[in-house]
Subunit: 410 residues, 2 copies
């Protein structure tokens, strides 16, 4: 997609500017990904060699210096502000950068080390959670409805095959979870973190469940209640504007899709106690969350600008939910590649609605979210992030299907 660097520019470092030499060093620190930097005010091109997947244009010296000082955060900020432009495929650019950073070595790539210095997640106290969640989700339902599709599900979908469309895949995800949980007419369900309420309504409407769904985002709860009224589900789904920590009562099923990322590892044992209290001995539970192969902080730019307080745990870290509460894990499924497909679908819709996003906010927000979506595709494609569904039950429960055939319609 972009021109390969001129041999003269690569083999002749003595004539390079200081800026070019510093960028060359940055490329080395990043593990020599096949990308090209272009210094717009000198016309110099700096690349690792070989065919680049994209060219990164730097508009001014302050941007370049910022990038050298703190590549992870400054790249995102400068891209959002239009001081960095990418010629070529943004997803591929992120993909090769992630891959080469991870390949540099198992014991902490530069990306991870830089992230480690910078990243101090905000604590998820009851009021802290509220602030963090408001900041992200209260950008406005109208914004999200531009690109999330009809289901308004802002979590990883489930593609029975790669050609399926987004809405179908979101419904397939809901059904996949309901099958795992063996939802039946009359099942009582508590949902922790219900987003815009689509899944709660799906469980009530399609499976005859009685659902109580918690969320601390006022906008989302208002939207969900309105939709439930419109769909005549008022008696079967109750939306509670409250923190999951205030869940009480006993249910057949505890389910949480895409909330754990905002819980904070220090609160995992408490979440386990809450789930255990909710389902007792015989109930079933499922937690669906973005995760990691091993513990590492979230990308610092995402954490700062997009998802304050968010943290994707490793399976080992997730076990701090279940093990102290003596819950029994029945099934863990990693559907990482489904999130890459979901995000590609979101990004396609987002680009189609770019004019509306610009009109609603501004060019900076448009670009910020484009980078976030494209970077997230790359994170799931390169294996930086995973997506885990963990099915669990009380330790004493022997009322379990022998095999997982029931999930697969056999």
């Amino acid at each position: 997609m972009s021109a390969t660097p001129q041999p003269a520019e690569r083999g002749n470092e003595g004539r390079e500017s200081l800026e070019a030499r510093l960028l060359r060093r940055l490329l080395g620190a990043l593990g020599e990904p096949p990308v090209e930097f272009v210094i717009d005010w000198t016309g110099e091109r700096v690349a690792s060699g070989g065919a680049s997947v994209a060219a990164v244009h730097l508009r001014d010296r302050a941007t370049l210096l910022g990038l050298l000082a703190d590549p992870q955060v400054r790249f995102g900020d400068a891209y959002s502000a239009g001081r960095i432009e990418v010629a070529g495929d943004l997803i591929e650019l992120m993909n090769v950068v992630y891959r080469s950073a991870m390949d540099r070595g198992a014991e902490g790539s530069i990306a991870e080390r830089v992230a480690g210095w910078l990243h101090r997640p905000r604590r998820n106290t009851l009021s802290g959670s509220r602030d963090n969640i408001h900041r992200h989700y209260d950008l406005g339902n109208d914004f999200y409805s531009l690109w999330l599709g009809e289901t308004m599900a802002y979590t990883c979908a489930y593609y029975p095959s790669a050609g399926v469309d987004l809405d179908t895949a979101q419904i397939a995800k809901m059904d996949h979870v309901c099958r795992k949980l063996r939802l039946a007419p009359g099942s009582s369900v508590v949902e922790a973190g219900c987003g815009w309420g689509t899944f709660a309504m799906h469980m009530a409407e399609r499976y005859g469940a009685r659902v109580r769904a918690y969320n601390i985002s006022r906008e989302q709860i208002a939207y969900a209640r309105r939709r439930a009224r419109e769909r005549g589900l008022e008696g079967r789904v109750e939306f509670v504007e409250d923190d999951y920590r205030n869940i009480d009562g006993r249910y057949d099923v505890f389910v949480s899709i895409g909330m754990l990322e905002h819980v904070g590892t220090e609160n995992y044992p408490e979440l386990g106690r809450i789930a255990r209290r909710a389902i007792g001995r015989g109930g079933r539970g499922l937690i669906h969350s973005i995760g990691r192969n091993r513990p590492a902080p979230l990308h610092p730019w995402i954490e700062r600008r997009i998802f304050p307080g968010a943290y994707p745990p490793s399976i080992g870290q997730m076990m701090q939910i279940f093990e102290p509460a003596d819950l029994s894990v029945l099934d863990v499924e990693n559907i990482r590649l489904h999130y890459a497909l979901t995000l590609r679908d979101w990004l396609r819709r987002y680009e189609a609605a770019a004019g509306q996003v610009r009109a609603m906010f501004d060019e900076t927000l448009l670009r910020m979210w484009r980078l976030y979506l494209a970077g997230s595709v790359a994170a799931f494609e390169s294996g930086v992030l995973q997506l885990f569904q963990v099915l669990f039950t009380g330790r004493e429960n022997n009322d379990l299907p022998l095999t997982r055939d029931y999930v697969y319609g056999r």
Copy 2:
């Protein structure tokens, strides 16, 4: 199955012997399981009340005192020696004792606390592993062939439905694992801990795989080599009498069924490095192991008398294999109830061969292994133990089926 205690004996503690009162206290410490102690030399019966599932006869005072001092280890030893007799269902006895001990409280039942004091697992150094494994498996192939069935698989089977027989379920387990690993003609496989070699031969014969299988038990390796010759598999399966830590070379698949219990948690990161080195970026791996809902030592009697050096890990502990090695966990399946079925099948065959076991060894070994098998049924039925199959791959591998449909023939 046994008489309930006489009201006069329950309501009139003043007339009870000291022994009876001490046993009553032991019942309390165990959480009042519905079992009955019978002091054979006084005729006293001590029970928690309600219908007992079994009566535990104590033959002499030394046994009783030993039981009070160290119930976990002494019960097994005294039962093996015939100084304790059980009238009623041995499995149910173990079941209610496990359940009531666990119900006593999530923060360490007496059983777990007692186990914690007593249990210091032997370290699995290269030579220590050899000693521990020899002690258990070199009881003799003839002994195991009495009750393991035709497959000689000494690991949890997989019952497509509860009525399936043992041999069919063992083959179904092998096929379940092969499907998860997407074995294909020509796949190269390394197996860590291959038992009597049945699975290695199955992979070669039914799936066309080229298999290299490691085991440090001389008797098992000799048996496996003989069987491979008989089945004409010499060129396709290689049995190596060596420790898994000496695995080298590159393979499409790494698999280990029922070895992890003997590895020792301190060696998990090394096992992960070995697996990662064996499969590289694109290979697949599966580890099948007895486990726990949360960390706890193995029952001290089992560890001392049956499985020296064994330890069933929690999922969180197992992640110390995968996380440091940057392996990506794709799927965890808990098939606990299948091990209860397997063990019931083994115990049935074992009882049918009791005369042969007695002739081969003596009454003590016969009883020791009866208790071990019955206690293990109960451990899996009550949720003391779990059985995990963990499927994994290199972090960078995107050549993955989108769904698990392929495991379920869809």
